[in-house]
C-alpha cells in the first residue's frame, strides 16, 4: 500500500495555525471612577468599577460604605478583538460594574477601594473622595463630571424616547423622589427662560418601574399667566425606556401642552396630579401622585417695538392677501382674505384689519384657524375673510397691510407686509355707476369725507298745509242730536198717526149715521110738503124712504127689502124696544096702505108723519 503524504508537512500546518490564533492579553487593569466629585445629599451619582482582562476565576468585591446607599447595581461585559500588523488578534475583556450611589450624609466622604481577587492575588483600586453637600449640588459640578464617559447599559437597546420628546425637549433628568421611587409623576418644560408670547412646552410623564394598568384621572396644573394649547393628549398608554440616575424606567406621556406666557415675570406652574392604577386584575392598586411644580422666567419684549406691536405677536409669521377678483362689476362682491401663517400662538394673534376707501364697503369678517403642530411646536394659519362690496365704479386700492412681530429665534422685531391691491369696478349690465344716487365715476376716494347722519334733531316744517277751521266735535254739531233723535221721533209719529187714523175711522162711522139721519129728516121734511098735495103715493114713498134710511143709519146695515118680520127681528137684535118697533111697523104699513090702498086723507097723512118723526126723535135715548 502506498502512502499519500508526509508527516513533516502536517507539523508545519499545525504551527502555522498556532501562529495565527488570537492571543489573550495578559495585563489586568482594575480601577474605579465616580462621575461627580461634588454631590448633594439629595443627588445620586455613578461609581463605575472597571476590570480589564480579568481571568474567569477573578472575583470582584465592590466598595461598601455606610456613608453611601446603593440605589442600583448593574454589570456589563465587553470583549474586543484587535488586529494589528501581521500578528495575531488581541482579545480584551472589559467588565464594568456600575453602581448608583446616594450619600447618606454631608461632608468629605471617601468611597473605599474595590478589591479584585485573582488566583490568590489581591488587587485594589484607589479610593474615591467625594465632597457631599446638603440638598442638591450645583448643576455646574455635575456638568463638569466625567459623566459622558460612562457607559450606558441600554445603549444598544432600541429607544424612541428622544424622538418623542422632540428636538427641544429638556434633557434634564428628573429627581427620583425618596418615597415613590418606583412610580412618580414628572412635569418638564422644554425651556424655562422665554419671552412673552414665546412657546414653552409642558410635558407630564409617569415614570414607573412597576406595571401600570391605567391612568384614571389627570389634573393639569393651573396655568395662570399662560395661554394654553394642547399638543398631545394620548388616549392610550405607550411606554418608552429612560434611564434616571442609572435606573431604567418606563416613561408614559400623559399630556403635552404648548404654553404662551402673556405677561412678563416669574410665572409658576403648579403641580399636576394623577390617579394611577398599577398591577393587573385583582392585584390592582390605585395610587395618587403629585408632580413637581415649575417656574418659568418670562422676559418682556425688548424695547424698540414697531407701531402696532402686541405681546401676542411673537413667533415667525408671514402675511399675505388673497383677493378673489380684482376686476368686478358694480354690485358684485369681492372676497378678500388676510392670511397670517407661521409659528406661534395662532389663535391669539390679530391680523391687521382690512380697510378701504368709502367706495368699497367692507363687511365684518369671519375668522378661521388651522393648527398644524409640528415637533411639539404650535404653528398654522389664521385667515380673516372679508366681503367687500363696491359702491361705485372706478379703480380703488386696498392699502398694504403690515404685521409687526418679534422673532425670539433672532431676538429681533420683524414686519410682515402685503402689497396694495387695486380693484377695478366696472359698470354692470344696467350701466349704473353707483348703487345709490347717480354720481360720477370716482377714482380712489379714500380721503373723501364721511357724511355723518344721525337720527336726532328737529324734523322740518311741513311744506304744504291742509287748512281746517277749528273743529267742533261731531257730537256737538247741531245735526247730530237731531239725527240721533229723528228715528225716535219718527217712530213716535208713526205710532201717533196710527192712533189718529183709528180714531178717525171710528168717528166716520158715527158721522155716516148722522148724515143718514139728516137725510132721513130731510125726506120727512119733503113729505111734509107733500102732505096736502094730491099725490099721496109720493108722500108715502118719501116717508118710507126717510124712515128706512134713518133705520139703516142707526142699525148700521141696509134694511130695505126685508119682510116686516125680518125687519122686526133685526131691530130687536139692534136693541130697539118693542114700542118703537111697533111704531116702525105702523108707519111702514100705513105707507104701504097709502100707496096701494088709496088712503089719502090729510089727517091720516099727518098721523103717519108724526109717527115717523116720533120714531126718529126718540132714537138712542
Amino acid at each position: 500500500m502506498r502512502r499519500t503524504g508526509s508527516g513533516r508537512a502536517a507539523w508545519f500546518a499545525v504551527l502555522a495555525l498556532l501562529a495565527t490564533a488570537p492571543a489573550w492579553a495578559d495585563d489586568i487593569e482594575f480601577y474605579q471612577t465616580a462621575d461627580r466629585t461634588e454631590v448633594g445629599t439629595e443627588d445620586a451619582f455613578h461609581l463605575t468599577v472597571v476590570v480589564v482582562n480579568a481571568p474567569a476565576n477573578a472575583q470582584v468585591r465592590l466598595p461598601q460604605s455606610e456613608d453611601f446607599e446603593v440605589l442600583s447595581n448593574s454589570r456589563s461585559s465587553q470583549r474586543s478583538i484587535s488586529l494589528s500588523g501581521g500578528g495575531p488578534a488581541v482579545i480584551q475583556d472589559v467588565t464594568r460594574h456600575m453602581l448608583v450611589l446616594r450619600p447618606n450624609r454631608a461632608g468629605s466622604l471617601t468611597i473605599p477601594p474595590a478589591i479584585l481577587n485573582v488566583g490568590g492575588r489581591q488587587m485594589k483600586t484607589e479610593p474615591v473622595r467625594v465632597t457631599v453637600k446638603e440638598g442638591h449640588a450645583s448643576q455646574g459640578s455635575a456638568q463638569g463630571s466625567a459623566r459622558p464617559a460612562l457607559p450606558d447599559p441600554f445603549r444598544n437597546m432600541p429607544s424612541t424616547a428622544n424622538d418623542t420628546l422632540g428636538e427641544d425637549e429638556e434633557a434634564d433628568e428628573p429627581v427620583i423622589p425618596r418615597g415613590d421611587s418606583d412610580l412618580f409623576l414628572r412635569s418638564t418644560l422644554d425651556r424655562d427662560d422665554v419671552y412673552v408670547g414665546e412657546q414653552v412646552t409642558l410635558s407630564l410623564y409617569v415614570y414607573s418601574r412597576v406595571d401600570l394598568s391605567s391612568v384614571d384621572s389627570v389634573t393639569m396644573p393651573k396655568l395662570e399667566g399662560f395661554w394654553s394649547e394642547a399638543v398631545e393628549n394620548p388616549t392610550q398608554l405607550s411606554s418608552d425606556q429612560k434611564i434616571v440616575d442609572g435606573i431604567p424606567y418606563r416613561t408614559y406621556l400623559l399630556r403635552r401642552s404648548a404654553l404662551f406666557p402673556v405677561k412678563p415675570g416669574a410665572l409658576t406652574i403648579s403641580a399636576a396630579e394623577a390617579d394611577i392604577t398599577t398591577g393587573f386584575l385583582f392585584a390592582g392598586h390605585r395610587v395618587h401622585r403629585i408632580a413637581n411644580a415649575l417656574k418659568v422666567k418670562v422676559r418682556p419684549l425688548p424695547a424698540g417695538a414697531p407701531p402696532g406691536m402686541s405681546n401676542a405677536n411673537v413667533g415667525n409669521w408671514r402675511l399675505s392677501l388673497d383677493v378673489s377678483n380684482t376686476r368686478v362689476e358694480l354690485g358684485q362682491p369681492v372676497t378678500v382674505k388676510v392670511v397670517l401663517e407661521g409659528t406661534g400662538n395662532v389663535k391669539n394673534i390679530t391680523p391687521p384689519k382690512l380697510t378701504g376707501p368709502a367706495s368699497l364697503k367692507v363687511y365684518d369678517p369671519t375668522t378661521t384657524d388651522k393648527l398644524t403642530p409640528s415637533r411639539n411646536r404650535i404653528q398654522g394659519r389664521r385667515v380673516v375673510e372679508y366681503l367687500v362690496m363696491p359702491q361705485r365704479t372706478g379703480a380703488f386700492t386696498l392699502p398694504a397691510l403690515e404685521f409687526p412681530y418679534f422673532d425670539p429665534s433672532t431676538r429681533r422685531y420683524e414686519v410682515a407686509r402685503t402689497e396694495p391691491v387695486t380693484l377695478n369696478v366696472e359698470a354692470g349690465a344696467g350701466g349704473s355707476t353707483s348703487l345709490g344716487t347717480q354720481t360720477p365715476r370716482l377714482n380712489d376716494s379714500a380721503s373723501e369725507q364721511k357724511n355723518v347722519l344721525t337720527s336726532g334733531g328737529i324734523r322740518p316744517v311741513r311744506y304744504q298745509a291742509r287748512f281746517e277751521a277749528p273743529a267742533t266735535p261731531v257730537w256737538q254739531r247741531p245735526f247730530f242730536a237731531t239725527a240721533v233723535l229723528a228715528p225716535l221721533g219718527l217712530l213716535a209719529g208713526v205710532a201717533l198717526m196710527g192712533g189718529v187714523r183709528g180714531r178717525l175711522a171710528t168717528r166716520t162711522e158715527a158721522g155716516k149715521g148722522k148724515q143718514q139721519a139728516r137725510a132721513a129728516r130731510k125726506r120727512l121734511a119733503a113729505a111734509e110738503k107733500l102732505r096736502a098735495g094730491k099725490d099721496a103715493g109720493a108722500f108715502y114713498v118719501e116717508v118710507e124712504k126717510g124712515l128706512l134710511g134713518f133705520l139703516d143709519a142707526q142699525v148700521g146695515a141696509p134694511l130695505g127689502g126685508l119682510t116686516r118680520d125680518a125687519l122686526g127681528e133685526r131691530l130687536a137684535a139692534a136693541g130697539v124696544d118693542a114700542e118703537r118697533r111697533a111704531r116702525v111697523q105702523f108707519v111702514l104699513e100705513a105707507c104701504d096702505m097709502g100707496r096701494y090702498g088709496g088712503g089719502v086723507e090729510p089727517a091720516e097723512r099727518q098721523k103717519v108723519l108724526e109717527a115717523a118723526a116720533a120714531v126718529m126723535e126718540g132714537w138712542g135715548r
Binding site: 334733531g457 324734523r459 311741513r462 287748512f467 277751521a469
Partner: protein, 241 residues
C-alpha cells in the same frame, strides 16, 4: 293741497301764500316772522294740524318749549298724528326741565279708551248704525216687501252695533266735558296750596309740562300732574290744549 275753509279773512290762495311765507321765514331762521305768519292763519280760521305742527316746530326751534309742546299737542289732538310730529314732540319733552317721578300708566280707563280711538270716527259709526237700524225698522212697518228676515237681521245688527258705539261715544263726550288737558307755557309756574297769591307754594313746574286742569278760581286754575300732584297755578301760565 286742498282747502276746506273758504270763508273768512283770507282767500285760499292768500292763505297758502302766507303759509309759504312763514315757511320761508322759518327756513332763514327768522322764527319770529314764521310764528307770526302761522298765528295769523290760526287767528283767521285757517288752522289744522299742519299749521299747528309748523307753529310748534317754530317754537321748538326758537326755544319756546311751552308753546312748542302746546302747538304740537293741539296738532295731535286735531288728528295730526304723524312721525314728524311725534319726533318733535319727543324732542320737546326731552328738553323739559321737569321730570315727573312716579308717573305711571294709571290714567283713567275712559281716558285711555278715548285716547286710543278717534272721536269723530266713533260718532259717525254710531250715527250710521243708529240711522240705518231705525230705517230698516220703519221700512218693515211701511212696506210689505221689507218684512223679510233679512231686513230684521240687518236691523238687529245695526242696532246692536250702535250700542257699543254709543257707549264709546258717551266716553268721548264724558272725557271731553270733564278731562281738560293743558300745557305749562310760562318758564316757571308755582303751584300753590290755595288759589291766592300768598298761599304756600307746593312745587314748581316749568314750560312744556303737560297737566290736567281740574278747577278754576279767579286768576288761578287747579292743575294735576301725571303722578297725581295737585296745586293752584296762575291761569296765565297754563294753556289748554
Amino acid at each position: 293741497m286742498s282747502t276746506e275753509t273758504t270763508q273768512g279773512y283770507y282767500s285760499p290762495d292768500e292763505a297758502q301764500a302766507l303759509f309759504q311765507q312763514a315757511n320761508e321765514a322759518y327756513a332763514r331762521e327768522d322764527y319770529t316772522a314764521a310764528r307770526e305768519g302761522y298765528d295769523k292763519l290760526l287767528a283767521h280760521g285757517f288752522g289744522g294740524p299742519d299749521v299747528l305742527y309748523n307753529l310748534g316746530t317754530t317754537h321748538l326751534a326758537h326755544g319756546d318749549l311751552g308753546r312748542a309742546v302746546l302747538s304740537l299737542e293741539r296738532a295731535r289732538k286735531q288728528g295730526g298724528k304723524a312721525p314728524d310730529l311725534e319726533s318733535n314732540l319727543a324732542l320737546a319733552r326731552a328738553r323739559q326741565v321737569d321730570k315727573v317721578v312716579g308717573a305711571t300708566a294709571d290714567e283713567p280707563f275712559l281716558s285711555r279708551v278715548t285716547a286710543a280711538t278717534d272721536g269723530a270716527m266713533v260718532s259717525w259709526v254710531f250715527l250710521g248704525a243708529w240711522l240705518v237700524g231705525f230705517a230698516l225698522v220703519l221700512a218693515r212697518r211701511a212696506w210689505p216687501w221689507a218684512r223679510g228676515t233679512v231686513t230684521a237681521v240687518l236691523a238687529g245688527l245695526c242696532l246692536t252695533a250702535a250700542v257699543p258705539a254709543g257707549a264709546l261715544l258717551a266716553a268721548h263726550v264724558w272725557v271731553h266735558q270733564n278731562v281738560h288737558e293743558a300745557v305749562i307755557v310760562s318758564p316757571t309756574v308755582a303751584a300753590r296750596e290755595l288759589p291766592r297769591d300768598g298761599a304756600r307754594s307746593l312745587f314748581e313746574v316749568h314750560a312744556g309740562l303737560k297737566v290736567q286742569t281740574l278747577d278754576e278760581s279767579g286768576r288761578f286754575v287747579r292743575i294735576r300732574l301725571p303722578n297725581g300732584l295737585e296745586g293752584w297755578a296762575e291761569r296765565d301760565g297754563v294753556a289748554d290744549i
